[in-house]
Symmetry: C2
Subunit: 250 residues, 2 copies
Amino acid sequence: MGGPRFEPVRTVRAYERIVEQIEEAVEGGALPPGARLPSERDLMAQFGVSRSTVREALRVLQARGLVRSRPGDPNGAEVLPFSPAALHKSMTTLARVDELSLGELVQFRMVLDASANLLAARLRTEAELAEMDAAIGRMREAVETGYDAFSAADVAFHDAVARASRNKLIQICTDVVRSIVLGLIAGKIAGSDDREALMRQSIRHHEEVLAAVRAGDGPLAARLSRRTMYDYYVGYVPAGERAALRALLE
Amino acid sequence: MGGPRFEPVRTVRAYERIVEQIEEAVEGGALPPGARLPSERDLMAQFGVSRSTVREALRVLQARGLVRSRPGDPNGAEVLPFSPAALHKSMTTLARVDELSLGELVQFRMVLDASANLLAARLRTEAELAEMDAAIGRMREAVETGYDAFSAADVAFHDAVARASRNKLIQICTDVVRSIVLGLIAGKIAGSDDREALMRQSIRHHEEVLAAVRAGDGPLAARLSRRTMYDYYVGYVPAGERAALRALLE
DNA sequence: GTAGCCTACTGGTCAGACCAGTGCACTAGC
DNA sequence: GCTAGTGCACTGGTCTGACCAGTAGGCTAC
């Protein structure tokens, strides 16, 4: 107390400094998506390090989804537009290390989707309503076509709702969590033989949700969307976790 | 149509194969947290590649938060318990690159916090209620102590609620988004001179939320928590984005 | 028995090399 | 003149071999 405040020194690796600098340039807009980094040999000269060090930095940046490099490309690494791939990757890891249960994921989807519907009911345009309507139409056709087409149309509906919420974070998280959930239950889907009944019920539910969104009744749309998702996924969720899902159905 | 189905070959880099293998071992539980990887020179022999290739793979794994290596450690890289650090990093990048607006972030916090409260109202234990109570107590004391202590106590309250929701995804996302929001408004806080009034109002609001959680009234707790966060942050949000926030207040 | 040194490792970095692939300028043929 | 084809210069991916600073643990001297 009172003396000079020392803080522990952290030895910072050379490649980390390079990552920081390039990251800052990308996030600050100095390197917009589509821009090219200098070649590794140029970077090596600019940063005054060896090529291995430059490459380790580039590997980190690539793992974070900021750049991509192709062998032989005379232009150097390309700065990528942001994609949720890295987000997706780390969330998938989280789910695979078994820290996340299917119940938690479905619950999170219910939360996100309900919020998206709540916002969409207030902010949606006519074009977006038409898009949702079209998606439900494709769901109807897909009852005969098969599960894959049905699932794709279902995804399209929820995507349209998420976009109508005007919140990019909701859109991205919805997308990421959904694909993880679908991946987890992918094997189990073929097993259920009352699949057609489930699809028909789901279509009915989606129609009700859409009606609420169209009417501008956010709370109703949110409540219905939670119910829709619950009914659709509850069969895959272990019995012990279902109570937590029902807690969202008020 | 009808001929043999060829799929495009993707040249896969050597280091990617290494990443895959180690990643699989970690996620599959063969390498539990705390376990040590062989040394780089051993890995180089096991995978039949050069050390640079091994190192690039380790850099990627490190960027994903799966392992950590210390120079001089005779035991090789350490397998880490999962931490949301990577998730945090990619979401922060998203906020910075994709220009997530403060409004969107606050809106997302409102959604998460409301859901956490909804669930907590049903699932909370007495111990968790006591924890929330203690946090509010520290907020009261901090009105005099200063903003930092107040903010820390506020964080503790919301963390306790998130934990009580029993949903790790909600906890992690809450944590990540909150730290981004706090980072964005960090500079602006000192400016407001009616800070004390804002703190006192916030304490009152938190007390109401806690009462609802204690009473088991989830919908009420959710509604109040949205209002609490709205009132606390609306001053930092550009006027044009406030309408979207109000859309959540039903 | 313990304090301190020594050694055999570790990861971080460097230098220099080779290879397969790419884009572009140049050239041969029309 | 224009196009098709060919080199060439350069890229990233990988390898080899080396040096350094740091660490842990055994060994030695007290």
